[in-house]
């Protein structure tokens, strides 16, 4: 596989005086030069508000915004570009669905909605439903970190309003069988919302093959800028949903008596959006699509396997999440050492990992943990990075064992 390190300027910087070993791509991905340049270029040569000016610069900005939406649609195999709504990220996408779709999905409409989630959900796929007045019930996770599909079937049969499930777990790395879950849910008439925040950077996503109703992901985890992301939804759902926020850009005609709304998806995009962000997002997705994806996947899998094997050899270290189908995320605990101390000591070696509950408190509770350490891989990581991590862990163990 082509070495991608040179494309990421941040990898040439030092962390605590040591070469940067970035193993926290699941929190946010680093940005390749093409993305940084695209954002800089937009502000240098293309900046104007969209949909508002008749002059050439505004026209160009509007075209760039539309092109970014088309790029998102291509990335997830969506045939209709107008099924893509720009949002701030996965979190906002979930809040949008909770606000605008959930009330319609309650069955019967008089009952408070019930949202079926899983024990491995990120807080972004739990709290929005609760805020919208729903009861959340969770499909159990096995000790290895896989969904209990028999339980899922039983719980779906009870007729929840919605199934909200993560495609790839940010803590366990588990790749969930979304296509199968969608078939199961649809057999009971239950629509499916998929949290694709961690899947989008790692595995090819095709919404037609998945068969879901909604798919959300964030630009910053797919090598693009923060503050922008996408919600894909079936057109029939978007057409039936109430607007999320009111303001400019989302309207058709406004009077003090009555307002009519713009067509989808603009109806859900009130106010001046993160235009430069969308431009960078589009370029980032194009960058991913231009990679030799099978080779990248194989490379990441190899890094994950090597890391898992070598970390397991550290006395007292336990891996968290050993599903058969996994993306390149390795979470673990070390006996006698608190995850934050582990992360701080690794930090001293220039190694960036995440420590804590990774916004999955219910999952940690289920696994009997208060926190864990997580290393996550990107295409630019190499065996030297794994070596630094493993060496660092041996040092941590010596201090704490």
């Amino acid at each position: 596989m082509k070495d991608l390190r040179a494309e990421f300027p941040i990898l040439a910087t030092l962390s605590r005086g040591k070469p940067l070993v970035y193993l926290d791509s699941a929190a946010t991905a680093q940005k390749p030069q093409v993305v940084i340049d695209a954002i800089s270029d937009f502000y240098s040569h293309g900046n104007a508000n969209i949909h508002r000016g008749v002059y050439q610069l505004s026209e160009r900005a509007t075209l760039a915004w539309d092109a970014a939406r088309e790029q998102v649609a291509r990335f997830i195999g969506a045939p209709d570009v107008n099924e893509v709504v720009f949002v701030r990220g996965t979190t906002e996408a979930m809040n949008l669905v909770a606000h605008s779709f959930l009330p319609r999905a309650a069955r019967p409409a008089s009952r408070a909605p019930v949202v079926l989630v899983t024990e491995m959900e990120h807080h972004a796929n739990i709290v929005p439903w609760q805020l919208a007045g729903a009861t959340t019930i969770a499909i159990p996770v096995t000790d290895a970190g896989e969904l209990d599909l028999d339980a899922a079937e039983r719980m779906l049969a009870e007729g929840p309003s919605l199934l909200a499930v993560v495609h790839v777990s940010n803590t366990l790395g588990t790749i969930n069988p979304i296509a199968q879950l969608c078939r199961m849910a649809h057999a009971h008439g239950v629509p499916v919302v998929v949290d694709g925040a961690q899947a989008a950077p790692h595995i090819p996503v095709n919404i037609a093959e998945l068969g879901c109703d909604f798919y959300a992901f964030s630009s910053h985890k797919t090598f693009g800028p923060t503050g922008i992301g996408a919600l894909w939804a079936k057109r029939e759902h978007l057409e039936a949903m109430t607007p999320y926020q009111g303001g400019g850009d989302m309207i058709d005609l406004v009077t003090f008596e009555r307002t009519t709304f713009a067509e989808v998806p603009r109806r859900f995009e009130a106010g001046t959006p993160h235009i430069a962000g969308a431009v960078g997002f589009g370029v980032a997705l194009k960058w991913i699509m231009a990679l030799d994806r099978p080779a990248v996947e194989a490379h990441e899998m190899q890094l994950m396997r090597t890391a898992s094997e070598q970390l397991s050899a550290v006395p007292g270290l336990r891996l968290v999440g050993t599903a058969a189908q996994k993306a390149a995320v390795v979470a673990f605990t070390l006996d006698g050492a608190h995850p934050h101390d582990v992360a701080s000591m690794l930090d001293g070696e220039g190694v960036c990992v995440r420590a804590g509950h990774h916004c999955t408190q219910p999952l940690h509770k289920r696994l009997g943990l208060s926190a864990s350490v997580r290393a996550s891989f990107a295409p630019f990581n190499n065996h030297g990075d794994v070596e630094a991590l493993v060496k660092g862990m041996h040092k941590v163990r010596k201090v704490f064992a």
Binding site: H338, G348, S370
Partner: protein
Amino acid sequence: MSATDDMYQSVIIDHDRSPRNFRHIDAPSHHAEGHNPLCGDNVQVELLVDVDGKIRDIAFQGSGCAISRASASMMTATLKGKTTAEAQELFDGFHALLTGKQVDTLPLGKLVVFKGVGEFPMRVKCATLAWHAMREALGR
């Protein structure tokens, strides 16, 4: 020695492994809890203060990272026998040590091992958690 090695000096590791005064006090005169959502640290500090303002006993319970446990442990060891006014002064001194400020207080003694934590702003809260709980307890 790296900055992290400096943060995890052997005194700190020792107090993490065998914390002093890690227990309950039967009838505390003062108590408070502290919580740090970053690390999930939580600490309960209990004190028994005399009528003349002397800290006769001080103990802590809870769970957390090495920095917060060691800090709580060393705080209890330092404050036992001191007056509440001295405890407040040491709080100020400890806080200043971690934030790189200069203040004139009672000598911090062994507590200076926490100076290295000041290099890691994200971890300063871990080291000051028990101290804040102690101060809150005395404020009640």
